[in-house]
């Protein structure tokens, strides 16, 4: 087999994997602070795609402005969702399962709401950057390179934000010990709302970058959500590094796998890895703790 083809697939895999990592880090953030999963995370991604389509294509704003406004909108959506749904379930009996069911419900609601508002026709967003780079016989569109850059920048910003900013410290304090955080004057309720907002932003960042490649439609979040769930579990719940490594690893594996298996078996491989990892190492590859 030609080395450049394999190399090309590895690079493509890293790019797709960076988006998986972006989606997964949002889920991971919510797990870290609230110890729950958000099955409506794929819908944040979907809404982000629609916001971008409306602002960039229909309203004709330039991509940077459109992206910024989409991110602002989705932040509000995330905060509202936490306040209206998750807020009422916290600290009640059945907390380990009730948010899973409730966010499932939110996901159905948002999918059908967008189906009603925007119809079932697939919508396309043009590439933000045209053209193609070519080196060592490998072709890469500038858009794909941009995806990788944005994903790295966003994830790095998130990491730095959590590590060094005052808010990030408050967030980590809340996830470590909620009572102690409250005693120290942290408004934990506000923290939870903002966490959901940030998580939604991460999904929308992924949507903004991926929408020109795939089309925008009400069901676009479903498959990516499943992937992101697989990624955070393989990487170990609550571990940001694990999510990044597992995301990129899965992307590369899929990219190279396409050379050996027909593409419709791609997801079978991804979920088989998920099951095997959980079987052998229930805490995930990089998880330190079994929840």
């Amino acid at each position: 087999m030609d080395v450049t083809i394999v190399l090309q697939q590895i690079i493509n895999g890293v790019i797709v994997g960076s988006i998986y990592a972006l989606m997964a880090s949002g889920l991971s953030l919510i797990w870290g602070t609230m110890k729950t999963l958000n099955f409506a995370h794929g819908e944040f991604y979907m809404l982000g795609g629609f916001f971008m389509f409306i602002l960039n294509v229909q309203a004709g704003l330039n991509p940077i402005l459109a992206g910024a406004i989409s991110i602002l909108f989705i932040f509000v959506v995330g905060v509202i969702m936490q306040r209206l749904v998750i807020h009422y379930l916290m600290d009640k009996p059945g907390w380990d399962v009730s948010p899973l069911i409730a966010t499932f419900g939110v996901s159905i609601f948002l999918q059908n709401l967008s189906l009603k508002l925007w119809g079932e026709r697939f919508k396309n967003i043009p590439y933000y950057l045209g053209g193609e780079a070519s080196f060592f016989g490998i072709n890469l569109s500038y858009h794909r390179i941009l995806i990788l850059i944005i994903a790295v920048v966003v994830i790095f910003t998130l990491w730095a934000f959590l590590k060094y900013s005052r808010f990030g410290m408050a967030l980590r304090a809340t996830s470590q010990d909620r009572d102690a955080a409250t005693i120290n004057g942290i408004n934990t309720k506000k923290m939870f709302m903002i966490t959901f907002g940030i998580s939604a932003i991460l999904a929308t960042a992924a949507a903004i970058m991926l929408s020109p490649i795939y089309s925008v439609n009400p069901w676009m979040g479903e498959s990516l959500l499943l992937k992101a769930l697989a990624v955070i579990v393989i990487g170990g719940l609550g571990s940001l590094v694990g999510a990044i490594i597992a995301g990129v690893g899965l992307g590369v594996l899929e990219g190279v796998g396409i050379l050996f298996f027909p593409s419709e078996w791609q997801n079978v491989i991804a979920f088989s890895i998920l099951i095997i990892v959980l079987w052998i190492r229930p805490s995930g590859l990089f998880g330190t703790k079994e929840w």
């Binding site: 899973l100 499932f104 419900g105 159905i108 059908n112 009603k116 769930l229 997801n267 099951i275 229930p282």
Partner: protein, 332 residues
Amino acid sequence: METVAKTNKGKRSFVARKEYWYQSTKVLYSASAIILIILPMFVGNYTLHILTLTLIFAVLALSWNLVAGYSGIFSFGHHAFFGIGAYVSALLSIKYGLSPWFGLIIGGGIAAISGIVISLPVLGLRAAPYIAILTLGFAEIVKLIVSNLVGLTRGELGLSGIEPFTSIGSISFNLAHRLNSYYLILAVMCLVVFVILKVISGPRGLALKSIRESQDAAESLGVNLRKSKLYVFMLSAFIAGVAGSFYAHYVQVLTPSSVLGVDIMMQILVITVIGGLGTIYGPIIGSFIVVMGLEYLRFLGDDRLMIYGVVLVLVIIFMPEGIIKKVFRKAK
């Protein structure tokens, strides 16, 4: 002061225990018998079809309730067993001309075996989210396999012309005789209810409930966690498989998305949660509310599913114990 408080307290518990006439088991049983057995004789074909679907979903929800409601293991991949039962039975009857009656058992059997297989990795997990993702991934694998093996299953084109249940004497089960199919699934459901009642009132049921309350406590009291979980997964997968193969021979058309889609899981979840987790009648009543509600609200179009999502959220927030425990306080 103290005595007043005490009597007040006593009064309150008395009021709570007060039984209305409609809450007595006798009234409940005879009413449901009349509704389920006699009423269907007088309804049209369309209503009968909806009723049959309702009972299929009731059986499916009952089987999920066994795992989720009684044992506290929230599997989000239960639709896989439904689909496996449906496809195994349909394929056996199409390719090898096997009688659907055997298909019912074999479909259930294969589903039970896959239930055992998937329960193996689940055994090592405790946290609900891990189990949810794992089972969801398993169901996705099953769906992809079915839709990718185009040579065998015709993929998304689906299977059609699946044989109905072969007639016993003069009792035929084809689409012209929907009432017979209805009574068949009613009998299956009664059998399932009987089996589940037997299981949960026996020692195994106590073990399962203790697992739901606290795994560590259950283990320390000598409950064999592995064995109990394997058993409950196998049984509930078998029942789901039977429901699936009944569905295949009743509707006679199968596509991967109609029996293996996540929306089937959603339906199971909504039915059981609305009816009441960990109750016998909950899934049945929930199925009547959800399946019939969805069917008769068809005129709402897309809004229907939006309402569906909102209802699920509202139920989880305001009525997590389900309708059955709200209305019939004595219900188990």
